[in-house]
Amino acid sequence: MIRPLMKSRETILAAAILVLVLAIATRFPGFVAPSNLANVFNDTSPLIILALGQMVVILTRCIDLSVAANLALTGMVVAMLNMAMPGLPVPVILALAISLGALMGLVNGLLVWKLDIPPIVVTLGTMTIYRGIIFVISGGEWINAHEMSDAFKAFPREVVLGLPVLSWIAIAVVIGFIVLVGRTPLGRAFFAVGGNPHAAVYTGINVGLTQCAAYVISGALAGLTGYLWVARYAVAYVDIAGGFELEVVAACVIGGISIAGGIGSVGGALLGALFLGIVKNALPVINISPFWQLAISGSAIIIAVAFNATSSRAKGRVILKKAEHAA
C-alpha cells in the first residue's frame, strides 16, 4: 500500500478546500454558517454518491460515462410509475430504482466483460441509448411536481436529526464504501485488477467479473440517485443531469483517483466531489455567472490530472536513479 502518498494527496486537497472556504468566508461570512454548509453538503450529495460508484469503475481500469443517462432514465421510469400508481410506497420505489440502475450497469459490465469492448466505447454508446430511451418512453413530455405524489417528493427532503434524508443517504454510501473498499475481498479485487490485471488473474481473481461488478455498483448508485434527483427537484424530463457524467469523472480525477486504474481512495473521491460542490455553490455567492462552472471544472480536471502525473513521475525518476547507482 502506498499509504503515505495517498494521505498526503488527500491532505493537499483538504487544505485546498479549506483555503477556498476561508477565502470565501473572509468576504461572505454567511457562507460558512453551519446551516449553509449543510445545504452545500446536501446539494453535493448526488455527486458524492455517483463519484464513489465511478471510483470503483475507474479503479478497475474502466470508465462509466453512462451514469448521468442511467440516472435520468431511472428517474423518468420511477416518476412515470408514481404517476400511474401514486400509492406505491417509497421503499418499493427505492428498490425498483436501485435494481433498474443495477440492470443498466449490468448491460455495460457484460459488454465489457463478455465481448471485450473498450469501456469508453461501451458507455459512450449506452449513454446515448439510455438518453434516447427516455425520449421514447416519455414522448419528450415533462413530468411536473403536481403529477407526483406527496410521499414520493417528500422522502429525500425529510429532515432527520438536523439533516435531510438525501444527506444521510450520501453519508451511508460513504460508510458503505469505506467498508466495501477497505474490508472486503471485492474491494481488494478492484485494486488488484486495476493495479496489474495479469497478476490479478494469477492470484485467482476473475478480472472481467470484477469489472462487471464495478459497473453494477456504479449503475445501482446511479439508479438510486435517479429517484432522489427527480424527487428532490420534483421534475423529470429527457435532459435532467445532462453532462453530469463529466462532473462525476472530474470529482474522481480531482480526488486523486488514477485514470490508469488501481490508485484511489474513498476519501479522495469524497473530497473531489466536495471541492466541485463548494465551487458550484460559491459562484453565485461571490457574484460570478454560473456559466463559468463548466470551464472551472474542465480546468480542475486538467490541473488535477497533470498534478497526479507529475507527482507519480517524480517517484519513478527516483527509482531509476537508485537503479543506476546500484548498477
Binding site: D116, G125, G140, F291, A295, S299, T310
Partner: protein
C-alpha cells in the same frame, strides 16, 4: 486505460507465406461490407421516400456528414496512433465563438477564416502539449478540455448568440461550386484525398500505424513518437477549425451549444469505418464510406420524420454493434476451427 494496450493474445499472429492478391483482400475487407451497407441504405431510402432521389435533396443530404467527416479523417489518424480527442466538438464551439467575437469587432471574411483555423490549431496544440509534454492519458485530458473549451464559450456568450456574419462568409457553408455540388462537398472530397495520401502513401502515415501498433518499437526504430502524436493533435484541432468555419457559415449564428455531442458521432464514424479503437489499423476509404452510410441513414430517418434523439439511439447501437459483431463472429469462427 485499456485503450493503449492492445492484447494480441498468447498464440501471436499467424503470418502467411504469401500475401493474398489485392482483389482477394478487397473481397473480404471491412470496406466492401460497408460499401454493400451503403448501397443497401441508399436503395432502401429511395424506396422509403419518393423525394429522396431528387438531386437537390441528395445535395442537402451531404451536409449531414461533410463537416463531421472532415474531423473524422483527422480523428481516424489519431485513433490509429492510439490516442483519442473527445474535445473536437468543443473546439468547434470555441472557434465559432472566436469568429463571432471578431465579427462584432468588424472583422471581414479572410480574417474570420484565419481566426477559425488559428483557434483550432491553438486548441489542438494545447491538447497535444498536455498529452505529449506531460505524458497524460488523452481520454482524461480531452474530457477536461472538452469542458474547458466549451466552458470558455459559455463564459463569453452565456445565453446569447453571435450573428451578423458578412455575406461573403456564407459561401463556405451555403455556397455551390457547380450545380448541386456544394463547396463543403468539394472540400470534403479534397480532404479525403489529402488524408488518404498522407496515411497510405507517406512516411508520416507509416509512422502513424507503427506508433499505434507498438509505441516502444516505434521509438527504437527512430520515430519521434511524441512529435507524431503532437502533429496529429494539431491536425485534429485544425480540422475542427475547418468544420467550425463551415458549420458557422451554414448556420449563420454562434451559440455556445453549437455542435453539441458531435464528438460521439465523429468517433462512431471512425469506428464504423473500420478503424480499430485500440489503435494500429484502419483506412481513410473506410471512414469515407462510413460517413456516407451515417449521413444517408440520418437523412433517411429525417425524411421519415424520426426525431433526432431516436436517431441517436441508433447511432449508439451502431457504435456498439460494429465493434461487437466482428468479435462475436470471430469467436464463432474460432470455435468452429477448434
Amino acid at each position: 486505460m485499456s485503450l493503449a494496450t492492445p492484447d494480441t493474445g498468447a498464440q501471436g499472429r499467424q503470418i502467411p507465406d504469401r500475401l493474398k492478391s489485392p482483389l482477394q483482400r478487397f473481397l473480404v475487407s471491412w470496406e466492401l461490407l460497408l460499401l454493400i451497407v451503403a448501397v443497401a441504405v441508399f436503395t432502401l431510402n429511395s424506396f422509403a421516400s419518393p423525394y429522396f432521389l431528387d438531386p437537390w435533396n441528395l445535395s442537402d443530404a451531404t451536409f449531414n456528414f461533410t463537416e463531421k467527416a472532415m474531423i473524422a479523417f483527422a480523428m481516424g489518424l489519431l485513433i490509429i496512433s492510439g490516442e483519442i480527442d473527445l474535445s473536437v466538438a468543443s473546439i468547434i464551439a470555441l472557434a465559432s465563438t472566436a469568429m463571432g467575437f471578431a465579427v462584432q469587432m468588424g472583422a471581414d471574411t479572410p480574417v474570420l477564416v484565419m481566426i477559425g483555423l488559428g483557434t483550432g490549431l491553438l486548441c489542438g496544440a494545447f491538447n497535444g502539449f498536455l498529452v505529449t509534454g506531460f505524458g497524460l492519458p488523452s481520454i482524461v485530458v480531452t474530457i477536461g478540455t472538452m469542458s474547458l473549451f466549451r466552458g470558455i464559450s459559455y463564459i463569453v456568450l452565456g445565453d446569447k448568440a453571435y450573428t451578423g456574419y458578412p455575406s461573403s462568409f456564407a459561401f463556405f457553408g451555403q455556397g455551390y461550386v457547380w450545380w448541386v455540388i456544394s463547396f463543403e462537398f468539394v472540400l470534403f472530397a479534397l480532404l479525403a484525398i489529402v488524408f488518404a495520401v498522407i496515411l497510405h502513401k507517406t512516411n508520416f502515415g507509416r509512422a502513424v500505424y507503427v506508433v499505434g501498433n507498438n509505441p516502444v518499437g516505434a521509438l527504437f526504430s527512430g520515430i519521434r513518437v511524441p512529435r507524431v502524436k503532437f502533429a496529429l493533435f494539431l491536425i485534429t484541432g485544425l480540422m475542427s477549425g475547418v468544420a467550425a468555419i463551415c458549420l458557422t457559415s451554414r448556420l449563420g449564428a454562434t451559440r455556445p451549444s453549437i455542435a453539441f455531442g458531435w464528438e460521439l458521432e465523429v468517433v462512431t464514424m471512425v469506428v464504423l469505418g473500420g478503424v480499430n479503437i485500440l489503435g494500429g489499423s484502419g483506412s481513410i476509404p473506410g471512414v469515407v464510406i462510413a460517413a456516407f452510410v451515417m449521413g444517408m441513414v440520418t437523412f433517411g430517418f429525417g425524411l421519415l420524420n424520426v426525431p433526432g434523439i431516436v436517431m441517436s439511439i441508433f447511432i449508439g447501437l451502431l457504435l456498439i454493434a460494429v465493434i461487437a459483431l466482428p468479435r462475436i463472429a470471430g469467436r464463432i469462427l474460432a470455435r468452429r476451427k477448434a
